[in-house]
């Protein structure tokens, strides 16, 4: 199926436009983009998070070392530079990391960071961080630990549950275990709940993760896509663990009790073979718990969390605003408009921004209030997340507005959501933005003002309709006739372009032939000069060298005419009537040469014959030029 979009013009046309634009301006390739994102949008007091500032297109970047925010200590801690080559285009980007250390609870807005990229000032957008009072490790869902000697299959695992609410995620000496962390166990329908799944691997063993990332699925809720895991280390008692931490969010779709099924990650490890206790003790003493490197039994581990229960409460019906469209969370609303002054019929874009934390995926559009005199169209949406799972961020709704009447302000905007913390519906609003918009020409034009459409066309009304006003006729200009098929697609245009194209081709062909002819003539002249030089050399040669000089001339002629040697050249001359006599004479001369070289007797006669024929042969050679 042809999937080209006629509204966006055809692919071939776009290619032509792109080529032209590339010819005209390459400066857009140098554009640098700056983005700021938190590693997580929610944390607890004393638990740091990372703020990552990514700059694409340049590595010449200046950033502040410290960002002052009351209640947060934000300090730059690192930098990474990345160079990618995609489709022969080099893309450079630098990621600057800040450590954000919260010292008190609350919702903080980390302001825009002033970044200087290649000498030009750029600002990141502000991001929000929610800091809770509690520890990030509670409540802990029960985990399934694996002891070093345990089997591979999940059935063989003896689930050793941690006491619920325990801060320590695992017990000392476990090989691997997992835990599921949710900040709350009672939520509302539509409320996004951040979830963290941690997998712990004992540092005394080597593990190989099998497959991709774990998946969370179940009935009654949706799950955000799992981003790449964070890696870390943690000590539990005397044992060190590698920690893989996956963060996502789930959104309940129905009320009642729902179960988050176990989240499983498969890993391969090598555990010591079971031997007598004494030998084990010896290995323990010398090599630690893992025995010889490479020795032991390969085991596949299925590391799972325990299923978690979530109580989902329905959204209250009381106090539900009429424009509530499913947003659950905590949001703020703001609006800006551009341009601020427009002519008749020109659109104003009102950008309404919903910022905060909640289910951005499921929210409806804000509603416009006080939009009398404006025509509005369904908005386009863009979302910028503050964290990898899209729990926090801001969503922009761009409304295209056209003033039907002269207006000095845009409509205001309202947005309703359910706040699960206060368990109440909240309606936030953004005031109208002052603009200057002229009435559209149809409204100001008396001709059209009288011609406002009715709700439904009356049958037969078209024939009885009034004719357009004289004003409109004058504006339309003199009547001309045009075809719906542009002339460039007409037969005449094809013929005209074909003729000119043929003319250009003919010109190129003529030039090529001319150049080639000039080249052939030059080569011919060169050969003539070389031949004359050979004949002159033969004329000046002594009696001993003369036969060789004559043969050289004949061989040169043979090369020029495409025959093999001197005798063949003479044969060729004999076939030409005007040179037949010369050929006979040359044949006699060549025979005399051979006789003088190879015959035992009569040598002196041959040499004499050569000497006497010298002038005659030179003259013949001059005349038989090919």
């Amino acid at each position: 199926m042809n999937t080209s979009n006629p509204f966006k013009r055809s692919g071939a046309l776009r290619t032509a436009a792109t080529t032209f634009l590339l010819l005209c301006a390459c400066t857009t390739l140098l554009h640098a983009a700056v983005n700021a994102q938190l590693s997580r949008s929610q944390t607890s007091v004393g638990v740091p998070v990372q703020l990552l500032v990514e700059v694409e297109g340049s590595t010449n970047v200046v950033l502040p070392d410290v960002i002052p925010v009351d209640g947060l200590q934000i300090q730059r801690t690192g930098q990474q530079t990345r160079v990618e080559i995609i489709n022969f285009r080099m893309k450079t980007s630098a990621v600057y990391s800040y450590t954000v250390y919260p010292s008190r609870e609350g919702v903080f807005e980390i302001p825009s960071i002033d970044v200087t990229v290649d000498g030009k000032p750029v600002q990141t957008r502000a991001v929000r961080l929610q800091v809770d009072a509690g520890s990030p490790g509670v409540p802990v869902q029960r985990a399934l630990p694996v002891q070093p000697g345990q089997g591979a299959n999940p059935q063989g695992l003896q689930a050793q549950s941690l006491p619920p609410g325990t801060a320590a995620p695992g017990e000392e000496g476990q090989l691997a275990f997992a835990e599921l962390i949710m900040p709350k166990s009672e939520v509302f329908v539509g409320e996004m709940v951040p979830v963290e799944v941690r997998f712990f691997f004992h540092q005394g063993y080597q593990f190989e993760i099998q497959g991709q990332r774990p998946s969370i699925s179940g009935e009654g809720f949706t799950v955000q896509r799992l981003p790449d895991p964070e890696r870390g280390e943690q000590r539990i008692g005397n044992d060190g663990y590698h920690v893989l931490s996956f963060r996502t969010a789930i959104t309940p779709l129905k009320s009642g009790q729902i179960e988050v099924p176990p989240v499983t990650l498969s890993a391969l490890t090598r555990v010591p073979m079971s031997t007598s206790g004494n030998i084990d003790d010896i290995f323990e003493q010398f090599f630690g718990g893992s025995g010889f490197p490479g020795m032991g039994q390969a085991r596949e581990l299925a590391i799972s969390t325990e299923p978690a229960q979530l109580t989902v409460k329905p959204l209250p019906k009381d106090g539900r605003p009429t424009n509530f469209a499913g947003a659950v969370g905590n949001f703020k609303l703001s609006a800006v408009a551009a341009p601020l002054k427009v002519g008749a019929g020109e659109p104003v874009t009102l950008t309404v921004t919903v910022a905060g934390r909640g289910n951005f995926d499921a929210m409806g559009d804000p509603t416009l209030v006080g939009d009398q005199g404006w025509s509005s169209y369904p908005p386009t949406q863009t979302f910028q997340a503050d964290d990898p799972i899209g729990l926090s961020g801001e969503k922009n709704f761009d409304f295209a507005l056209v003033a039907r009447e002269a207006r000095d302000a845009t409509p205001g905007a309202e947005f309703s959501f359910f706040n699960p913390e206060s368990e109440k519906y909240v309606t936030v609003s953004a005031p109208p933005v002052a603009v200057q918009a002229e009435a559209s020409s149809a409204a100001s034009d008396p001709a059209t003002a009288n011609a406002r459409p009715t709700d439904a066309p009356t049958p037969g009304a078209s024939d009885a309709a009034a004719a357009p006003s004289p004003q409109a006729n004058e504006s339309a200009g003199p009547e001309v006739t045009r075809s719906f098929s542009p002339w460039i697609r007409s037969g005449a245009a094809w013929v005209l372009n074909g003729v000119v194209a043929i003319a250009v081709m003919a010109l190129l062909l003529a030039g090529w032939i001319r150049r080639r002819s000039a080249t052939d003539a030059g080569k011919s002249q060169q050969r003539k000069r070389e031949r004359s030089a050979l004949i002159a050399r033969a004329a000046k040669a002594g009696d001993d060298q003369f036969p060789d000089a004559v043969v050289a001339v004949l061989k040169f002629d043979a090369d020029s005419t495409g025959v093999l040697g001197a005798w063949d050249r003479v044969d060729a001359l004999q076939s030409q009537s005007e040179h037949a006599a010369s050929a006979v004479r040359l044949r006699e001369f060549l025979s005399a040469i051979d006789e003088s070289r190879f015959s035992g007797g009569g040598v002196s006669q041959s040499k004499q014959a050569i000497s006497t024929a010298k002038a005659e042969i030179v003259e013949i050679l001059k005349n038989v030029c090919p």
Binding site: M1, T3, N5, P6, F7, R9, L13, A16, A17, F20, A344, G345, S375, Y377, V402, R404, S440, S441, A443, D445, A447, T448, A451, P453, T454, A456, P457, T458, S462, D463, A465, A466, A467, P468, P470, A472, N473, E474, A476, G477, P478, E479, V480, T481, R482, S483, F484, S485, P486, W487, I488, N497, V500, A503, V504, L507, L508, A510, R514, R515
Partner: protein
């Protein structure tokens, strides 16, 4: 008697000439009369504009939208038609193709002018360059100028081709009169609705498949609509007027 006849003939001819120059339909003309003139004279942006205004006055939203589109397609520089159509579309919540930079270009320079000038310059540059390739001695300045003229001509021609609405919007159609049209996710009645369009809204036809046609909406969404609810902006027979 002879002088009187000559005077009458002169008066008649003058009146005909003035009417042809102004090109305005008489105030008593009805929609059907404009349509008749379109049939007789062939497509004319001015006549389509007059027809659109008359249809608008009569409350025929679809007819007005269609004929405004045709007038603008034939003469993209007709500002009066653009302004009236913009206001008309906003008053009636009709979806129209978003304005693009090509529209800005053709509102200043007619695409046919761009096409002709671009073609002329392109060929002049090509011939000049072909001449310079084999001529001796070569002047770098002349070669560079020939290349520049060739590129300039190609660029103008490309811009004209891209901006020509009769080429770029050749697949534009209008939703016909009747109830709101639902753009469906599949070519079946029970498919989910992608978006609903009011009669008079413009859609871009991507692929007609029998009784269903795959289209793009002014908002950029894609889906299927019933083929019998679509009216082509470029009529099958170019001389035909609106078939509302």
């Amino acid at each position: 008697m002879k002088n009187w006849l000559i005077g009458l003939l002169y008066f008649t001819l003058t009146a005909i000439c003035i009417a042809a120059e102004v090109g305005a339909p008489a105030t008593s003309e009805s929609i059907s009369e404009i349509e008749k003139r379109l049939e007789d004279s062939g497509p004319s942006p001015q006549l389509y504009y007059h027809l659109a205004v008359a249809e608008e006055s009569a409350g025929n939203i679809v007819g007005a939208a269609l004929n405004y589109q045709r007038a603008i397609m034939l003469d993209p520089g007709m500002r009066v038609a653009q302004n009236r159509f913009s206001a008309f579309a906003s008053q009636n919540n009709i979806g129209v193709r978003p304005r693009s930079w090509q529209d800005d270009v053709v509102s200043v320079v007619h695409p046919e002018t761009l096409l002709f000038v671009g073609m002329l310059l392109g060929w002049v540059g090509a011939i000049w360059l072909a001449w310079m390739i084999f001529s001796t001695p070569k002047s770098r300045w002349y070669v560079a100028t020939a290349v520049f003229v060739l590129l300039l001509g190609s660029a103008l021609f490309s811009m004209g081709y891209i901006s020509e609405p009769r080429i770029a919007d050749a697949n534009l159609s209008i939703i016909s009169s009747g109830p709101e049209v639902k753009v469906l996710s599949g070519p079946a009645e029970n498919s989910s609705t992608v978006v609903a369009l009011t009669p008079g809204s413009a859609v871009g036809v991507i692929s007609p498949r029998g009784s269903w046609t795959y289209v793009t909406t002014p908002g950029g969404a894609s889906g299927w609509v019933a083929t019998d609810r679509l009216i082509k902006v470029i009529p099958d027979a170019a001389a035909q007027p609106s078939e509302i």
